[in-house]
Amino acid sequence: MPKSLISIHDLSKEEIVHILDLAAQFEQSPSPALLNDKVIATIFFEPSTRTRLSFETAGNRLGARVIGFSDVGNTSVTKGESLKDTIKMVSHYADLIVIRHPLEGSARWASEVSSVPVVNAGDGANQHPSQTLLDLYSIRKTQQHLDNLQLTMVGDLKYGRTVHSLLQAMSLFNAHFTFVAPPELVLPTEYKHFLHQKNLDFIESCDLLPHIPKSDILYMTRVQAERFPDPIEYEKVKNSYSLTAFMLQQCKPNMKILHPLPRVNEIADDVDNTPQAYYFDQARNGVYTRMAIITYLLDQTK
């Protein structure tokens, strides 16, 4: 079976560092024609323009040709074709498949029936490993290293899959975590057990401001109204987890703010012009990281 990237757990610490090193090389020379003879398929069973454009840019920058679909409305998929049959077909056309699918576990299944590497670009609420790798890349780039950092995660820590994957990956680098969330959206116990098992300390709080001065990274996430059964509860908390430039007065000079975009009102516009704002650069790093993932997997498959 070719090497695929389905879950962040598929990668060892060494492999993660290797992929980040590759991404750094691509940032230095962003258009190496390494994959002139390759075809990459991006098959998106649900729309995600941001992720698809990032992968397709990565493929094009590497010199590969990109095929695919992003709308299942007109394909055989809506006529009831199984995922297995679609993957079997596409893996005869392409050298690597990028898949996004609303069902959880779909990407793992795809990798088991595919004859070429598969990259998971999101399987429902489960995994989205390229997002995690680009977060790690952004953290390492802004802090020069990944070890022993103070990481404060804010917002929807219950449903936010980017938070769960990132905390698991950062646990390999001995991070110190602070989790800031409204009581309705606190981190699920299974992740707290995970950190206990790894002997990593963490703090939980529902108050953001006191934790800003010590943080190296502030990882903001969307607090979505639909997570609250009672709209009044949402109105009460929505502003207590939004960041303004005023709140950054005491922060460390190296501190950076990350957000897996799109944002709603978690970060005020006046933060955009502070030296701490990093969320737009984060998106650009996504292309280098995805170039690194694609080349790494194709290299392993040779």
Partner: protein, 158 residues
């Protein structure tokens, strides 16, 4: 009648076959279902709510002329972790086999996550077993979610 004879009668009432002992009474029908005994033509007798030193109450199944592979034996581990398989030849117990909880199980249980691919397409379920405070739980190989024993639904052996 001494205790030895009584014991012998309980487990040796078939000439050749298998006696499954130490099944928790509440798991009896799950075990029958998992082993596909509801489809077999062989002679089967079972008893339940029998006194047991180990479990308080237990159930027993006797299947004539039927023998099980280790894989089958381990299939019932989730529901009857203490079960013993007694293999009977000519009214004698010739071998006793203990259930072991397998590290991986596939195709026995359903994933509890309604959004899991295995609940929508023709994909055989696969799990890693995990022992915890509340018994055994299953981590789905596909969606990575956890199914607790109390939420377990069985896929019958076809």
């Amino acid at each position: 009648m001494n205790i030895d004879n009584e014991k012998k009668l309980q487990v040796s009432a078939i000439k050749d076959g298998t006696v499954i002992d130490r099944i928790p009474p509440l798991s009896l029908f799950k075990v029958i279902e998992i082993l596909g005994l509801d489809h077999t033509g062989n002679q089967i007798t079972f008893g339940t709510n029998l006194d047991s030193k180990h479990l308080g109450k237990k159930a027993i199944i006797k299947i004539a002329d039927s023998f099980f592979e280790d894989e089958d034996i381990n299939r019932i581990a989730l529901f009857a972790p203490d079960a013993k398989f007694n293999i009977i030849k000519n009214y004698e117990v010739i071998e006793k086999r203990q259930v072991a909880i397998p590290e991986h199980i596939s195709g026995i249980a359903k994933c509890f996550n309604p959004k899991c691919i295995t609940n929508h397409q023709n994909v055989k379920t696969r799990f890693t077993t995990k022992k915890g405070k509340e018994g055994i739980s299953l981590v789905c190989h596909y969606c990575e979610k956890i199914t607790q024993t109390k939420n377990l639904q069985i896929i019958s052996k076809s």
